[in-house]
């Protein structure tokens, strides 16, 4: 007799289907469950974790969890000190990461992160149907049909959280001789070798850092100069942990960082010759190497979503999305997790949000699920009333302590509507670009922003009814406590007019 399949969510019809069991899919599923929205959650993997089941290659994350923050770990503010735990509404399910770390680093190891995600799934009782591969997609009237290895799932809203996980290799001649980052071997197998790493982003520098003690010589090359996070004032750039190869280059220590485009890779016996053209002109450079590694990034494995109208763009084949992470060209299709980085938001001073990392994507997922619940399922989330006398303090406290605003600078904001009839209503966390561009009732939103000097300060956006929002920058404070007398006075003055004097 065939064994009975005990897995949850058999093929069928569901209001929502979530695909993927990395942090993005888990976080979306958690908030759907929290709001009571029935959904199926499927994954091709055998266990939770997504990319963290394998990467980073050298087994140490780039996102911090600092066990000793200034507030108890179940305080939501602690999430600013813990970029790796998923969000939970129940205090006892928050901040699972620090208890799983061995104390050797504020950056958890990959196995610790994988355990963190599995623990969250277990503790919050999230059922997931594993070993179910989404293979293709079609429409059936108003519903979407996800064809999987287990059968068909029909739904009103699919949420794809499948990561930016498919290895990308350029079609430049000879790249078939290069191993992709995902196929990097144990470090000791590169002992004494001349390595050529294509790509100068974090994955390239992660490999260079990990192989410094093994390789004879390391060349990193790509057309664009390497950007360091400490110079870009954001996580866009090489993180401090991976800067050692840059220092080795400066000191002439066997590391070479080239700004050049790769023209072709040629096989020469047991070795390779990489032909490069310097970006700023000059003659071709030919570099001989024993191994070529393509740290050239990843694309979104969106299967055949383009066939149902999902438009994609860019090197990573990210979907074109609205500010609520809904396909801009196939309404009703949503995305969570690292795919969310396709929504640029305000990108002030050119600084991207952290949507490609757990600390940003977890808040995007919560905001997206709230939006899906209200738009598609008639759920009305509570909007607490705020007394006029409390508004200024709430805004400045939010800017000082809300991890959503700190993790997603110039990207997520907390908004309050200022309708004379309804009073002041807390609208919660919203995409800032959506707030400043939509016409609506009088409202105010606050965000945290960094400018090109690295100064971190609150920014306030005040919208009079039916008019575009107006930006006002508040002042910073050396210890980032923005609740200063100057900011209180400035904010009160801004809000006095738009609230007809209710805020004094």
């Amino acid at each position: 007799m065939a064994e009975l399949d005990q897995r949850p969510f058999p093929p069928g019809d569901y209001p929502v289907v979530v695909v993927g069991s990395g942090p993005g899919g888990i976080q979306a599923s958690y908030y759907l469950k929290h709001l009571g929205i029935e959904h199926a959650h499927i994954s091709a993997d055998p266990v939770p974790g997504g990319m963290f089941r394998r990467f980073p290659f050298f087994q140490r994350l780039l996102s911090w969890t600092k066990p000793y923050g200034p507030v108890p770990r179940d305080d939501p503010f602690y999430y600013w000190y813990d970029w790796n735990s998923l969000l939970a509404e129940e205090p006892h399910n928050r901040a699972l990461m620090p208890d799983l770390m061995d104390g050797t680093s504020s950056f958890p190891s990959r196995p610790e992160m994988e355990t963190n995600l599995a623990t969250f799934v277990a503790r919050t009782g999230l059922p997931i149907r594993f070993d179910t591969r989404w293979e293709s997609t079609s429409r059936d009237g108003e519903r979407f049909v996800l064809h999987t290895s287990d059968g068909d799932y029909r739904c009103q809203v699919p949420i794809f959280a499948v990561g930016v996980a498919h290895p990308f290799t350029p079609d430049t001649p000879g790249f078939d001789f290069a191993a992709h980052y995902v196929d990097t071997r144990p470090a000791q197998t590169y002992a004494g070798k001349r390595l050529f790493i294509v790509g100068k982003e974090n994955s390239g520098f992660e490999l260079a850092t990990g192989l410094l003690q093994w390789a004879q010589r390391i060349v990193l090359a790509s057309p664009r100069p390497a950007k360091l996070s400490v110079n870009s004032h954001s996580l866009a750039g090489i993180r401090a942990r991976y800067v050692l190869p840059v220092e080795d280059q400066i000191l002439g220590g066997g590391v070479f960082v080239l700004n050049a485009s790769i023209q072709r890779i040629e096989k020469l016996g047991d070795a390779y010759r990489v032909h490069c053209l310097p970006s700023e002109g000059g003659a071709e450079i030919a570099v001989d190497a024993d191994e070529v590694i393509a740290a050239t990034g990843f694309t979104c494995p969106l299967q055949d979503l383009q066939s149902i109208g999902v438009e994609v763009f860019g090197r990573s084949l990210l979907p074109a999305m609205t500010n609520y992470w809904e396909s801009a060209t196939a309404p009703g299709v949503y995305f969570a997790g690292t795919i969310g980085q396709g929504v640029s938001g305000m990108k002030k001073y050119g600084l991207p949000a952290n949507s490609g990392a757990v600390q940003g994507a977890r808040y995007n997922a919560r905001t997206m699920v709230h939006h899906v619940a209200e738009k598609h399922f008639g759920v009305r989330l509570p909007r607490p009333v705020v007394a006029p006398a409390d508004l200024v303090e709430q805004l400045l406290t939010t800017a000082t302590r809300a991890p959503e605003l700190w993790n997603q600078k110039s990207y997520l904001a907390r908004a309050f509507t200022l309708d004379a009839g309804q009073g002041i209503l807390d609208q919660g966390i919203v995409p800032l670009a959506q707030f400043v561009d939509e016409e609506g009732p009088a409202a105010v939103a606050i965000a945290v922003e960094t400018d090109d000097t690295g100064d971190i300060h609150p920014a306030v956006y005040v919208r009079e009814s039916g008019k575009p929002a107006v930006e006002t920058l508040l002042t910073s404070q050396p210890l980032h406590d923005f609740r200063t007398a100057d900011n209180r006075a400035h904010l009160s003055q801004l809000l006095r007019g738009v609230t007809n004097g209710a805020v004094r």
Binding site: R224, S261, L277, E311, V312, F313, G314, R315, K348, D452
Partner: protein, 141 residues
């Protein structure tokens, strides 16, 4: 529609702004600038806001509006954002997508260095801005 890197470089090579660059230089430009996508109806530049960037339209169209009044439209190959960056002032106009838009984006603080690195782009930009100024003067007279 998504393009691979070679197609993107081909497209950029065909834009007037980058027409005088060698292919390796265009490849470097394609890596230096971030490709972004915006849905219809979204503002990319916002009148009076700080921290804006420089954009080159790869596909799509935007409307230029001052105080809500549309004054022109920009399409493939056009660029915007440079005026406020170079003058160190917030934009004097809104730039709003009229259909799905794909752009290349450079942070404001990087523009000056970018133009110094690629003088032919600076010259092309200067000519385009001069044309805009001439047309604006004609429109006013």
């Amino acid at each position: 529609m998504a393009m691979n890197q070679q197609e993107l470089v081909d497209t950029l090579s065909g834009l007037a702004l980058f027409a005088d660059l060698s292919r390796p230089q265009v490849e470097a430009v394609a890596h230096k600038m971030a490709e972004e996508s915006y849905p219809t109806g979204q503002r990319i530049l916002r009148q009076g806001f700080t921290g804006t960037g420089f954009y080159v339209i790869v596909d799509g169209e935007v409307a230029v509006k001052i105080d809500g009044t549309e004054i022109s439209r920009l399409g493939k190959g056009d660029f915007f954002g440079e005026m406020s960056i170079l003058l160190g002032e917030p934009p004097g106009a809104d730039i709003t997508t009229t259909r799905q838009l794909r752009v290349l984006h450079l942070g404001g603080s990087e523009l000056e260095g970018f133009l110094r690195d690629y003088p032919p782009v600076m010259l092309r930009m200067l000519k385009a801005v001069a044309l805009r100024l001439r047309n604006a003067n004609r429109w006013r007279s």
